[in-house]
């Protein structure tokens, strides 16, 4: 007859707890205090760190774009243009450089950026000229133009 009750009470929780803890502690070794050594303190901090890293990967894209926009605005401001005017005029000229590259050019290639700013300014003036000389757009008839 085999007595099973004592054996069933003694549960084997697994042979590799130490290695599982080490796998998690390796992500905590650069923390400060006991949370880089003690598993129960480390598990909480490491979970938060992983969650912040996941969220941060999305935020980084937004932050980088904001940074590029700030730099482009600064560069365009040096040449007498606002960021919105600069970007819209370049788009209307069919120049498809993105903000990352424009910020890079503003820093490392000042002559090229100056030419881009001049191009944007010229396109802007041409746009005004097309609108502000008392001509109606094609296909629109108004009493003012007919009177003239």
């Amino acid at each position: 007859m085999v007595l099973l009750s004592l054996a069933l009470l003694m549960r084997n929780r697994g042979p590799d707890r130490y290695w599982k803890h080490q796998e998690l502690l390796k992500h905590a070794r650069h923390f400060r205090g006991r949370k880089n050594r003690c598993y129960s303190l480390a598990i909480r901090t490491v979970r938060r760190a992983w969650r912040y890293a996941t969220i941060g990967r999305h935020l980084k894209k937004r932050d980088m774009r904001q940074l590029w926009i700030t730099r482009i605005a600064a560069g365009a401001g040096e040449h007498g243009l606002k960021y919105s005017q600069f970007i819209t005029s370049l788009l209307k000229c069919q120049v498809d450089l993105n903000r990352k590259v424009l910020a890079d050019l503003a820093i490392t290639e000042p002559k090229t950026f100056k030419c881009l700013a001049a191009l944007a300014e010229r396109r802007r003036q041409e746009g005004f000229h097309a609108l502000l000389n008392d001509k109606e757009p094609p296909g629109i008839f108004s009493r003012i133009v007919q009177q003239r």
Binding site: R47, T54, E109, H129
Partner: protein, 211 residues
């Protein structure tokens, strides 16, 4: 009209401003023979302009539009200027006067500002093998020390040639995507390792002449 005294007045159309406004020195007499004490509008004969009516008005804040007048440069002078610039650029290109060229290239859904001997890390798998030489076709901008060629939006393939070699094809370090809600016993852990390629830009070449 009677005897004339000099009185400088701007002649404007009835509409506050117009590009066809003209300023005319008009002489008026304050006392006209017909007995009117004030300023009379000049009547323009039919031979001059039959459909336009003039009215005298002082120069006010509405005589000029509030925006700056747009003056574009002379088209013929512009054409000459453009020809000069293109000629200068052509001489520079044919004599290889540029030092180190840089290019802006669209590759793997991103734009890269690139020179020769650059290393690029691309977070995408490429179908070519390690050691293959690749030509990047979508070039948006090429520049040297004193000139830049700007594409609208791309430059032609026979104008620029950007060549690169594939050096390495690996995966990223294992990034952990972890979603966790405190005190709710909800967590999801996913380890991501996307493929990466490392390219070395070998050369950027411009064809001898533009157009």
């Amino acid at each position: 009209m009677g005897a004339i005294d000099a009185l400088l007045v701007q002649v404007v159309y009835i509409r506050p401003w117009s590009t066809q406004e003209r300023s005319v020195r008009v002489h008026l007499s304050p006392l006209l023979k017909d007995g009117h004490g004030g300023v009379q509008p000049a009547r323009i004969g039919r031979a001059v302009a039959s459909t336009i009516r003039y009215r005298y008005a002082a120069i006010t804040s509405l005589t000029q539009p509030p925006w700056k007048k747009v003056i574009l440069p002379n088209p013929e002078e512009e054409i000459l200027h453009h020809k000069e610039v293109i000629q200068q650029a052509n001489t520079m290109i044919s004599e290889r006067d540029y030092g180190r060229l840089f290019a802006v290239v669209q590759f793997a859904a991103r734009q890269w500002k690139v020179t020769a001997e650059d290393l690029i890390l691309i977070e995408a798998p490429l179908q070519a093998e390690c050691g293959d030489r690749i030509c990047m076709e979508k070039v948006l901008l090429v520049g040297g020390g004193n000139f830049t060629l700007l594409g609208r939006p791309l430059l032609k393939k026979d104008l620029v040639r950007v060549e690169a070699t594939i050096i390495e094809k690996t995966e990223t370090w294992p990034k952990i995507s972890f979603h966790y809600k405190a005190r709710k016993r909800e967590q999801r852990k996913h380890v991501i390792a996307t493929p990466q390629t490392v390219l070395r830009i070998n050369s950027i070449d411009i064809a001898p002449t533009l157009r």
